[in-house]
């Protein structure tokens, strides 16, 4: 058969051809361009429009940044160096960098103290943010607030030590009593802590000089440091308060529920700026005469209330998202309310609420710039106040706002990326 066939056909290929390369338009860069940028004519138009926008922005900013001047003493000198061409005057940033970070009143020889506190913040936050790290590090996290307080404000080390002692002894009392009932443990612990603080305040003589650092009053804080401090302090304080408010709002005791609802809705219904006005002009009327609570503390109180209300709503969402079976299971195990909450409900509800809490934290950190409106010199206040008002730098707008924007962007984008990572990490549902 095959022989006959071989006669009738002129040529039979007996080896397979190597596969031909795909057409140029279907491979590599060209294919990618075609699919992603020029799929059809409308898409092509969009691409061209986008390229034009990018060109416009880049042609305006890139030469301006590249020609930037970094080491002159004033705007006038900058203009001399630039000699008529448009270019940035980044000298203002290099010259006023310390003011942007620490404000204009913090003693410059003490900058190492807040810097050190800032560096330690990473160590303290690490075990909270990353669960793989050894749990022992949490001890440092617990100590951090006292160390940071001592470093930033200075004064005798006895003050933070007494505060710490109150917490530690209160915790031990709580541990002893909580086996009986949660309420006894909780109130016993709190009472002990207050007793320690009271005795401590009585024992420490004024101006005790043990390991004393030079004192810096709160009104000398400023710059980006102030934003960071307000953000960190208020978020950490508002977490427990927010949890309490969320539980209170879910409670079936009408009085407690009512108080929590009114508080949350009231605080969420007014802008932060009005609360800052309260801190600025109204809150001191509510303290005992002569107590002299300083503006920083009043602002911390109001911002903490503000973020606690928002965090409470996020956590309430987490509590509501838990299946009812979890609550019933806890009840059927015979756990009482504090046990059920501590051991079963809150760990799950908090896990669900983490992305929301991080969102609130980012928003709150951005909102700390509002304190510039009540004449505190945070980074925006520094820029609009002392720096732009100075004769050397009057008229340098873009460079300064760019610096502030970059600082905020780095922090906020970092936090939101962390939150996305955490969300993936905590996802225990089946996919």
């Amino acid at each position: 058969m095959s022989d006959i066939h071989a006669h009738s056909v002129a040529f039979v290929r007996d080896t397979q051809l190597p596969p031909a390369p795909p057409p140029v338009a279907e491979t590599g860069v060209v294919k990618w361009l075609r699919e992603n940028l020029f799929a059809n004519w409308a898409n092509g138009l969009l691409t061209i429009a986008a390229l034009y926008v990018i060109y416009l922005v880049a042609s305006a900013t890139v030469p301006w940044i590249v020609r930037g001047v970094w080491n002159t003493d004033s705007l006038a000198q900058c203009r001399e160096v630039l000699d008529g061409v448009s270019g940035a005057c980044f000298s203002v940033i290099s010259e006023r960098w310390n003011q942007l970070l620490f404000g204009f009143k913090y003693p410059s020889e003490l900058y190492w103290r807040p810097s050190l506190a800032f560096a330690m913040l990473f160590v303290a936050a690490a075990p909270v943010l990353f669960f793989d790290l050894p749990r022992k590090l949490l001890i440092f996290t617990g100590l951090y607030p006292f160390i940071a307080f001592w470093l930033i404000w200075g004064g005798s080390i006895l003050t933070p030590i007494v505060a710490l002692a109150g917490f530690i002894i209160g915790y031990f009392v709580y541990e002893r009593l909580v086996t009986g009932s949660f309420a006894a443990g909780f109130f016993g612990g709190v009472a002990t802590a207050f007793a320690i603080w009271f005795i401590g305040g009585w024992i420490i003589p004024d101006g005790a000089g043990l390991l004393a650092l030079e004192q810096v009053p709160s009104r000398d804080l400023g710059g980006f440091m102030l934003n960071m401090m307000l953000g960190v302090v208020c978020v950490s304080l508002s977490l427990p308060l927010g949890i309490a408010l969320a539980l209170g709002r879910q409670s079936n005791l009408p009085l407690i529920k009512g108080v929590c609802v009114v508080f949350i809705e009231f605080v969420r219904g007014v802008p932060l700026i009005t609360l800052l006005f309260v801190a600025n002009v109204m809150l001191s009327y509510f303290f005992p005469p002569g107590s002299g609570v300083d503006l920083f503390l009043r602002v911390v109180i109001m911002i903490t209330m503000f973020s606690a209300a928002y965090i409470a709503e996020v956590i309430r969402g987490g509590l509501a998202a838990l299946p009812k079976g979890q609550y019933e299971a806890a009840d059927s195990l015979g756990l009482d309310y504090p046990q059920a909450m501590r051991l079963i409900i809150l760990p799950q509800a908090l896990k669900i609420s983490i992305p929301g809490i991080v969102n609130i934290a980012v928003g709150l950190f951005k909102d700390t710039t509002l304190v510039s409106v009540i004449s505190m010199f945070d980074i925006v206040g520094m820029i609009r106040g002392p720096i732009l008002a100075s004769t050397e730098w009057n008229g340098v707008y873009w460079e300064l706002f760019m610096a502030a924007s970059v600082l905020f962007f780095v922090v906020c984008y970092g936090i939101s990326q962390y939150s996305q990572w955490l969300e993936r990490r905590l996802a225990t549902d089946h996919r």
Partner: protein
């Protein structure tokens, strides 16, 4: 054999207040009530002591005193002799003005950015991602100040428009962008029959409302026709006519002309002046909130599962109808609640007007009035009351909407 018996009736003992779940909640609430009253009494006592020490009292009489300051942008009659209350009203109306304007434009920005971020076009999608991340991660206060600086520093002064070869020129000979604000043509009614201005715009509004109902009736008629015959009559030009013809007729009858701003002396005269602070606040709020709305829109569209689109296509619906009848109604259910809370955020963030000197309620009542009269407590309380009323009414609207749009499960 067991018999059911009532548990023995215990007489009430004091320890039951703590151990019996029937009474325990009363105990706790009683304690909470006592603590609450104690706290309020303590704070109130401090307040009274401090106020009397400072020689102050709580009184709202100052609202009737002349304000004594000028406001550069007012929509209602106001001069420096008007009472503080009138200044507060000016502020309220300015707040509402910027909030409404910013809500509208933020929605436009947000929807465009959110849809484009899902585009197949890689470059456009990335560009929108950059926009969203950039604006979401930088405080709105910084954006407001940046845009205000652009408005005041980078725009030409009115003087630049002068002369034969002026440095700047008006857009279409109608709009002038200056460092004092933007001047646009303003409508003017020349027919002497329509002298009172406020009533005329109410009339125009009434005609527009009529047009809305007319258009709805038209669409209902078309649907009825479609149900009866299977063919939907083409109505779009009728709809356009219903919307525009009566209004155009009315405005022509009223003698509508446009008052075009012109450079007279040192400044532009005529037309409508939109001040720089208003534009800065409006634009910054809308572009900042637009970034958040873009994320909501994107999430809403992604929330509609692909099976829905495929099922609609399998039913033979054309792409436009798939969007209108299947995807959008489901996406809107996800998008609208966060959208409304973004509107709430815009209203609250508009209080940042004080940073650029736009005369909203925070700047008038909470700023100048507070500083002039020293009535801190009264001013701040009134300010909070205003925002609270706005927020609670928007929340109420949202609840009504959510209940109406809730998935009806049977």
């Amino acid at each position: 054999m067991t018999t059911l018996t009532d548990p023995p009736r215990e007489s009430f003992r004091l320890s039951m207040l703590l151990n019996d779940t029937r009474y325990r909640s009363f105990t706790f609430q009683g304690i909470a009530l006592i603590l609450l009253i104690a706290a309020i009494a303590y704070l109130g006592n401090n307040l009274a002591t401090n106020l009397s020490a400072a020689g102050l009292n709580i009184s709202y009489d100052f609202l009737g005193d002349p304000a004594g300051y000028d406001i550069n942008q007012t929509l209602i009659p106001y001069n420096s002799q008007s009472p503080h209350l009138q200044a507060a009203w000016v502020g309220i109306i300015n707040t509402l003005l910027v909030a409404v304007l910013a809500c509208a434009t933020a929605t436009v920005f947000g929807v465009i950015a959110g849809v484009l971020r899902l585009s197949n076009n890689w470059l456009v999608a990335k560009l929108m991602a950059v926009y969203v991340e950039m604006f979401r991660n930088i405080p709105v206060l910084i954006w407001i100040i940046i845009i205000f600086t652009i408005m005041t520093v980078s725009m030409p002064g009115p003087r630049a428009f002068r002369g034969d070869n002026a440095e700047s020129s008006m857009l279409f000979d109608m709009f002038a962008f200056t460092n004092r604000g933007v001047y646009t043509p303003g409508p003017e009614l020349t027919n002497p029959l329509f002298a009172s201005t406020a009533l005329n715009w109410v009339l125009v509004l009434a005609v527009l409302v009529g047009a809305f109902f007319g258009a709805r009736a038209l669409s209902k008629w078309a649907t009825a026709k479609q149900n009866a015959t299977g063919i939907r009559p083409t109505t779009w030009y009728w709809t356009l006519a219903v919307w525009f013809v009566p209004v155009a007729l009315l405005l022509t009858f009223m003698g509508l002309t446009w008052d075009i701003p012109a450079l007279k002396g040192f400044n532009f005269q005529g037309g409508i002046k939109i001040g720089g602070p208003l534009i800065a606040l409006w634009f910054a709020l809308s572009i900042y909130t637009g970034a958040f709305i873009a994320e909501n829109v994107r999430a809403g569209i992604l929330a509609v599962s692909k099976g829905q689109t495929e099922a609609a296509s399998a039913l033979g619906l054309r792409p436009g109808r798939v969007m209108n009848l299947v995807v959008l109604p489901q996406a809107l259910r996800v998008i609208i609640p966060p959208l409304i809370s973004q509107y709430l955020n815009i209203t609250k963030n508009s209080s940042l007007a004080i940073a650029v000197g736009y005369a909203d309620i925070t700047a008038t009542l909470g700023g100048i009035t507070l500083n002039q009269t020293g009535r801190a407590i009264e001013c701040v309380l009134l300010l909070m009351l205003f925002y609270l009323v706005i927020s609670l009414s928007i929340s109420a609207v949202m609840n009504v909407y959510n209940n109406a749009m809730k998935l009806k499960e049977r």
